[in-house]
Symmetry: C2
Subunit: 207 residues, 2 copies
DNA sequence: AACTGAATTGAACTTGGCTCAGGTTGATCA
DNA sequence: TGATCAACCTGAGCCAAGTTCAATTCAGTT
């Protein structure tokens, strides 16, 4: 029962995409709790109550952003590693793909990281809970992406045998920890980060 | 101007410690936003308004918890690495120290990680802002702890030369990423985590 | 007993997310 | 052209939870 969320097809007048974009901006820059839901409405150019036509709640919007970002991460991983047979090269490709992101996506990753804890407990309302469950499933999918990569490498003898689950979680943790501090306007270019982490991951995993 | 927060000396009837303990429990288990401030009061056995005798706000309490945990982390690092000259051994000792924690401290680390973003923006009220600044300084101190360790190792030739700042942040990120998912009641014992991460850090950093 | 500061409280205020009952818009089709 | 209907939007207010405040109790001191 891998319940897939049906993306509401966009009516021509729909402001859903605009709301998501504005929400990503504000939640990402100022933080979720620090941004007033009404501010998002203002930015989009509608009254606050109109938001509830598209999202059940402020949190529902947040969870949607998180789910979409998780979906994107998973897709990107899959695409990047699809046709790379050699384990070390696949690992490198996966890491590079993880940092091949737009400024908007940086915000989305930040939002995702800052509110992962939301995914543990159940939600009261239906649609929120649906998004949460979908997001949780995607988290597990992404974790499996990385562990599978490691398992494959281990079975081929490219990586020494260790607890792939734990090692995978650690590699993933290392990679995403960057989104807590990285700022596009900051002193360190993302390419530097990408190179260093790619290198670090290979050292961590390979012989 | 490294403004040090003066810890309010405990009057004999003071419930400050009890409040902090209860807050750590609830904020750590259920999450900060999910726990009602009044619940903490209840647990301690006082009316909600009495909380404001000890803390300016719910957030002020949170920031205090974070600062105390950062202080503890820094102290522990210092103590663990003080008399270890050999860089690799110092690194190992530091990692082991990071995971040598009580269940209560696990909660504190979780709270800290989940609300790091609070430290970026300024706070409106005086005492909150004081705690925030103190915490931010401690974050930098801890980051410097790790980079210094790496710099020392690099200058001694034990570690290959690389951007110590960035590498330090990454090592630290890897270590603390564990607190997002680790549960004392979970299937993986912390000793396993500690060993794997210790190993991973050495691989990341050393030749 | 009078005094003092710490500790506590009930009642009221504030803010921001949210509900509700209805109004407007525009794509579609006669 | 105009009728219809679902999508879209709004003003007025509700409610929960954090917070303020003036007044009170408590414990130790003089």
């Amino acid at each position: 029962m891998a319940t897939k969320i049906v993306e509401p097809e966009a009516g021509p007048r729909s402001k859903r995409a605009a709301i998501l974009a504005a929400a990503v901006d504000h939640f990402g820059e100022a933080g979720f709790e620090a941004t007033k839901w009404s501010t998002v409405a203002e930015r989009v150019g509608i009254g606050q109550t109109a938001l509830y036509h598209y999202f059940e709640s402020k949190t529902h919007c947040l969870l949607t952003i998180m789910r979409l970002e998780l979906q994107r991460s998973h897709d990107k991983f899959t695409e990047a590693t699809a046709d790379v047979a050699e384990p070390v090269e696949a690992l490198r490709a996966a890491v590079r793909a993880a940092y091949d992101v737009s400024d908007q996506e940086v915000l989305q990753m930040r939002i995702l990281q800052n509110h992962m804890d939301l995914l543990s407990g159940p939600r009261k309302s239906k649609r929120e809970e649906a998004e949460r469950v979908a997001a949780r499933q995607l988290v597990q999918l992404v974790e499996r992406d990385w562990t599978n990569l490691l398992v494959k490498g281990m079975s081929q003898g490219a990586f020494p045998l260790r607890d792939a689950q734990l090692l995978g979680a650690s590699v993933l943790g290392l990679i995403v920890s960057v989104w807590r501090w990285y700022r596009p306007s900051g002193p360190t270019p993302l390419s530097d980060v990408s190179e260093l982490i790619e290198d670090a991951c290979v050292r961590m995993v390979a012989t």
